[in-house]
Structures are given as structure tokens and as C-alpha cells.
């Protein structure tokens, strides 16, 4: 295992401490429950909490700050945080306007965020709402009962719902706009290598040099199919094609594109892929109104990328472009 860590057990705690030291102007840390929260907690706005397994850095803690999240709960690597961790985040970020949980749609996360929300509502009378992000189009929805995974599109939910909350909107309105994003964002990802979970010490799956996994999530799980590697143009074609299959985008539409690296892929390659994605959108007469290219929702050191497309209307545009000041995104 090639990692800069102390011990596999201390990875998340050490990371949280380093994160706090690096961004102490932005955040505070509850060490016991691994909750990273805004330095100044505002109890007069809807507070947004996200989180999930660690290993997706800068998600989610990197987006804690003005215009995005209020808190992020850090689970173990690729494991949802526990019910108690999330419960403590909710009570810490309790607000007069209520709390919105932004949950990626994984069984573990859903069960634990739901359990924590129930607890906070029952024991502490905190008004908690939840949205479940399920942007991954790799797996066809209808075949399975748990629904799609939540992947990189989550970052758009953070950005837009965060901007909405900053306007002083109420919980219902913030939840509604988060759900609008979820309804309009789709993501397709692929991996060239596995990642290595520190506790495991070796790659999650083996893969030969000429092969790739198409349709991966962000937890080092294998994808939907193993295929021969293809060039950037073909990759873009397939990813965008799959997204369009699932969510048709009209000619003349404005979209936001997130070209997300999975952690082990250099920025150079993300720009190359972005260039190909733009060619396809351009040919389809679709206008890229907003873009992000970089590592936003990673899977440790996995080499690979995902393409997310969000259909925009005027409301989403304005919120997407609103100010944000967080460790990982400043606009």
C-alpha cells in the first residue's frame, strides 16, 4: 500500500485535524463525532448537513462555508457515519429555520441519516428534512429496489441549496430547490484503476492494463461492466450518451458540467476529457453555462473520472453563480 498515513485506524481522525489546521478560518471540528462545521454557526438560516464515508475529499468538509454547507459528518473511509455522529451534527447545527440533510443514496447513508433525523426530531424537536441524491445513471433505476447511487452531482446540490439557504429561504424552499437539482442532474463515471482502502491495504479489485471499469461509483466498487480502455473522445461520447439516454437535453438548453476526477487522475487528463465533452455538447447545440473541472468527489486514489450534467433554469443559474466561500470552492 502506497499511502501517506500513520495507521489505517487513524486516517480519518488525522485528516480531520489536518483539515481543521488548514482551514481554521472557515471551520471548527467536533473531534469525537468528527463533525466539521462552520466556525460561526448561524441559527437564523436553514442549516445544511451532508457527509458520508471519508475518502471523497474535498467532499464533503471542503464545502463547509458561506454559500454551501454548514456541517459535514465524516464517516470511516467509504462507510457512512454512524447514527450518533449524524445526530450530534444535527443537534450542533440546530437552527430556528430547521436542518436539511443532503444524503447520497446508499443504503448505509440512508439508514443512518434517517435514524439520526428521527432521533433529533423525537428527542429534540428539531425540524429535519432530508433529500437523497441519486444522480448516477450507471445502473438503471428500475432493475433494483435501492435506486441509484449519489455521486458527484451532490456537489451541485450543496452549491445550489447552500446559496438558497443563504438568502434566508425557509426549509421547504431550500428542500424544494435541492430536489430540483436532484431531478435535473445526472452523472456517469468510469475508472481505470481500483483504489486502495487504507484498512484493506490493497486494491479493491484487480484490473489489467488495457481494461477499465465503466459505470463506477465512488467507493472503489467495480463498475457495471469491464471493458477495453478507449480514448478520451470515445469515453466522453459514452458518458454523455448514457446521460442523454436517461435525461434528454433539448437543443439550445443551458447546462452546468462537472468534470470530476476520482482522485488519482491528474488535472491534465480532466481537461482533455472536458475538451471532448464540450465538443459533444457543442455538436448537440447545448450551451455550457457553467463548468467545474477538478477533483470534487473523489474515491481515494482511484484513477478515473465522472461527467455530471445539470439542466439549468433561471433560478438554478442564479444560485449556481451566487457567492461561495469554502475551502474547496470559492466564487
Amino acid at each position: 500500500m502506497k499511502k501517506i498515513i500513520n495507521t489505517p485506524e487513524s486516517v480519518v481522525d488525522d485528516m480531520c485535524k489536518g483539515f481543521l489546521l488548514a482551514h481554521k478560518d472557515y471551520v471548527g471540528l467536533d473531534e469525537k463525532y468528527r463533525v466539521i462545521h462552520r466556525k460561526e454557526i448561524n441559527t437564523k438560516k436553514v442549516n445544511l448537513i451532508s457527509g458520508g464515508g471519508s475518502g471523497h475529499e474535498p467532499s464533503h468538509a471542503g464545502f463547509v462555508g458561506r454559500g454551501m454547507l454548514d456541517g459535514a459528518v465524516c464517516g470511516d473511509v467509504f462507510a457512512s457515519p454512524s447514527v450518533m455522529q449524524i445526530y450530534n451534527a444535527i443537534t450542533k447545527l440546530e437552527s430556528d429555520k430547521g436542518v436539511l440533510l443532503i444524503v447520497k443514496n446508499y443504503s448505509g447513508d440512508v439508514m443512518n441519516f434517517d435514524g439520526a433525523a428521527d432521533m433529533a426530531e423525537e428527542d429534540d424537536d428539531i425540524h429535519v428534512e432530508k433529500v437523497y441524491v441519486n444522480d448516477d445513471v450507471a445502473v438503471t433505476d428500475s432493475l433494483y429496489t435501492v435506486g441509484r447511487r449519489g455521486v458527484a452531482g451532490t456537489v451541485f446540490v450543496h452549491k445550489i441549496a447552500g446559496a438558497k439557504a443563504e438568502t434566508g429561504a425557509d426549509l421547504k424552499a431550500v428542500k424544494a430547490v435541492a430536489e430540483k437539482v436532484i431531478a435535473n442532474v445526472r452523472t456517469m463515471g468510469f475508472a481505470l484503476t481500483s483504489c486502495t482502502v487504507p484498512a484493506k491495504g490493497g486494491p479493491t479489485f484487480d484490473i489489467k492494463d488495457g481494461d477499465m471499469e465503466f459505470g463506477v461509483g465512488i467507493h472503489g466498487e467495480p463498475g457495471v461492466s469491464r471493458e477495453k480502455t478507449v480514448g478520451a473522445a470515445a469515453l466522453a461520447e459514452r458518458a454523455v450518451g448514457r446521460i442523454f439516454e436517461d435525461m434528454p437535453v433539448q437543443k439550445g438548453s443551458d447546462v452546468a458540467v462537472l468534470l470530476n476526477g476520482l482522485g488519482g487522475t491528474p488535472l491534465q487528463e480532466l481537461y482533455i476529457l472536458y475538451n471532448e465533452v464540450c465538443k459533444i455538447l457543442d455538436k448537440a447545440g447545448i450551451n455550457v453555462y457553467f463548468n467545474m473541472v477538478g477533483n470534487y468527489m473523489t474515491a481515494l486514489d482511484m484513477a478515473g473520472a465522472s461527467v455530471s450534467i445539470l439542466k439549468l433554469d433561471d433560478e438554478l443559474k442564479a444560485l449556481l453563480e451566487a457567492e461561495a466561500d469554502t475551502p474547496a470552492l470559492k466564487m
Binding site: 462507510a79 457512512s80 448505509g108 435514524g115 445502473v139 435501492v146 457495471v224
Partner: protein
Amino acid sequence: MKTLNISDIKSVLKITADTVLENEKHFCDLDAVIGDGDFGMTLAKGFRVIKVELEKFEADDIGGLMKSIGMTMLETCGGATGSLWGAGFRAMGKSAKGKSEAELTDISEMTASFIGGMQKVGGAVLGDKTLLDALIPASESMAKDADAGLDIAEAMKNAGAAATMGADNTKQLIAKKGRATYLGDRSLGYPDAGAEAISVLFKAVNDKFFC
């Protein structure tokens, strides 16, 4: 053996905890094939705390112990495991509330409650390729043996065999709950990690306690 007292229950739980810790890597490896490879770690994290808890727990109350273990799982374990096992143990706690001894009927009911707790939060049924595919046959075997008035040790042996068969069976299932669903039919041919773990735990408890 006709009843288990609190110290028997603690012994069984101690064996369970030790077995989880011994199999941490093995359970992770199983989860890695069609899941994300953290199942052993998550479970071990909880049972490491539970081991200490077992020694500290004073009251003569099987239900209280189970509830306390459930809370520990919710506090310590993330992942699907935290909520599922947390809910399972808490449901067992309810079912055995105030009991200082358990007969086979009680144990069988506790197991059914464990399953019910898990189903309430996880919504899985038999055949979804989860640990329930080992637990449900085991629980049914216990219920039958309880009706038939079998000895606990005997019944546990039967339950263990049912769990192992159930776990084996998961190889032929396509996952409908949990992460393995994302693989579609690529989950075929591999067992579910949780179900395998249930089978391993039954075997250890039977080899070391009910022998």
C-alpha cells in the same frame, strides 16, 4: 442445555466478538468482491467496544445488555452495519427486556426480533442477497426446534447449518439491497459478505460454546 443465563449470553457474545475480530480481514475481503470492502472493519469496530462493554455490564438483564449493545453499534459503527445491527440488537433488547434467563423459545424470539429490527430500517426480505438470507433460515429452524422442544445446543447446531446453507445460497442471488445492487447481475456467483459472516459466527459459537 435448557436455558442460558446472563453469563452464558455474555460468553456467547464474547465468542461472537472474538470471531468478528479474528475475521475482520476475511469479512472485508468478502465485501470487497461485490461491495466496498469495509464490512469486516465496521463490524470489528463495534465489537471491539462491545467486548469491553460485556465486562462492565453489571445488571442481570439480558434485554438491557442487548439494548446497550445496540446503542454501541449506533454510536460506533457507520455503514449499513451500524444501523442494521444497532436496530437488530435494540429489537432483541425489547424482546428480552427484564429477562435474566432465556429458554430456546426466548432465543428463537430474540432472533426473530433481531431480524425484524433489521428489516424495519433496511427493508430487505429473503432472497435480497443480504445477511437475512442466512439469518431467516436459522431463525426458522430455531422456531421449529423450539416447538419440538429440542435442547438449545441441538437447535443451535441446526440453526448454524441452516445459516450456512442460506449463506451458500446467496451466490445464486442477484443483490436487491445494499451496495452489491450496483453491480447488477455481476453479483451472481459471489456470496453476500453479511450472510457469510452470520454463518461463520454460528459456527464459532457452536464450536466453542454449544459443544
